[in-house]
Symmetry: C2
Subunit: 270 residues, 2 copies
Amino acid sequence: MSGSVVDPVDHDAPDGALAAPGPLAPGLAARRRSPAEEARTIVAGGTLGALSTLTATGDPWGSLVTYGVLADGSPALLVSTLAEHGRNLLGDARASLLVAEAGHGRDPLDSGRVTLLGHVERPAGPVAEAARAAHLAAVPTAVHYVGFGDFSLWVLRVRRIRWVGGYGRMESTGAAEYLAAEPDPVAPSAAFAVAHLNDGHADALLAMARTLGGYTDATAAVCTRADRYGLDLWVSTPRGKASVRVPFGEPVAAADGLRAAAVELARRAR
Amino acid sequence: MSGSVVDPVDHDAPDGALAAPGPLAPGLAARRRSPAEEARTIVAGGTLGALSTLTATGDPWGSLVTYGVLADGSPALLVSTLAEHGRNLLGDARASLLVAEAGHGRDPLDSGRVTLLGHVERPAGPVAEAARAAHLAAVPTAVHYVGFGDFSLWVLRVRRIRWVGGYGRMESTGAAEYLAAEPDPVAPSAAFAVAHLNDGHADALLAMARTLGGYTDATAAVCTRADRYGLDLWVSTPRGKASVRVPFGEPVAAADGLRAAAVELARRAR
């Protein structure tokens, strides 16, 4: 079953602001990325984040940092101890890293971001080598200052994770779930796939909304999101508009597998 | 004189990594934006930032926020108390807001950002009205949730400001300087002006570097930045490459004044 993470916050909302029509027939059980998978995917997709540290007086201090990612999802930072955030980390190892998805030109609060809270450690031995390699792979220009004596590698050991996918899509998760999860392999191609589906396959999306999503009275459907488990559709009906999930038969395992999965979904919807 | 803020950090650098040839003749005294002006300009140019707050256990917590700007440069936030950062602010008013300039597709650490540290207040009366208007002007989509009972306005009262313009360009400043400074009126058109100068006016830039910048042996010059006080040029010489500042005769006062100022600079360089 879904274990849905689409759990609208209990806003004290003006009447009707959050109302949407339901399906007229049962839809398919819709698997979604877990909060840990969402978090790993956002972190894997970026190289730039906001680091929160503590000043000597305990004030919360935000700064821009670049990061790479170790195999277990731990961020590898390269920070100058001459900079304020570097001095802060030397004084108190507690830190959080905020990473936001690249903007889509829409409402920035309706997009994904994740906060990783934990503490930093100076890696040693093979971990230091891996952290250096991960950072340089993500931030090639770091080669120009990785040799400066004041720059040092830090690994953020994550203790608590807060993922926000947009309005009403948010959940916290723990370190074990985060470290064990996989980034979604299709994330890098998802935006292209969504645009392609909307540009050339409106009929297939409408069939999916009617047959697989239970919106038998749908008059149009637009794809708003694609991931390894399925598609999110924004459906127009005479009763109003609603969001519905249509799942793939099997999760996509390969980075280039989204197209075949969407074709199969269209076939099932006919 | 310049009161230059280009003050290379004393990195323990590999030999030669920071070396650049100097001018062969005296250049013009080059005024630059003050750190407070840089900070006001970056804050005025954005609507999205990273808020650092303190959790109940004193951990530094980073989250994505939108903001508007009051006339004195104080950020106006609209935050849900159901969200973690809202609960944090209710528990401890200390906060910082990190705002980064829009990326230019180059090294993200070689671009401007600013951290505003202070504490938040719930505004009342006319300040609340102004904060609401400033937030909605910057974030029109906030009209959809400004009426939700859990969302509340906060004004960040800034105490300390850290501006970083890129590698080696950084300075701290105080609240009085920040609140009194003006955002650069030409900032919104600067990127276009830089591209236009480089695309069509390479000869004029070279003449500026030679005549006004003191690089009499310059063989090429590229404009890297424009602001109300002048242009930054990246100059090629047989001795190597260097950055030089060429100032306008008068600071540009109007948003559309950059073109006339650059034309006048080219005339003086001939």
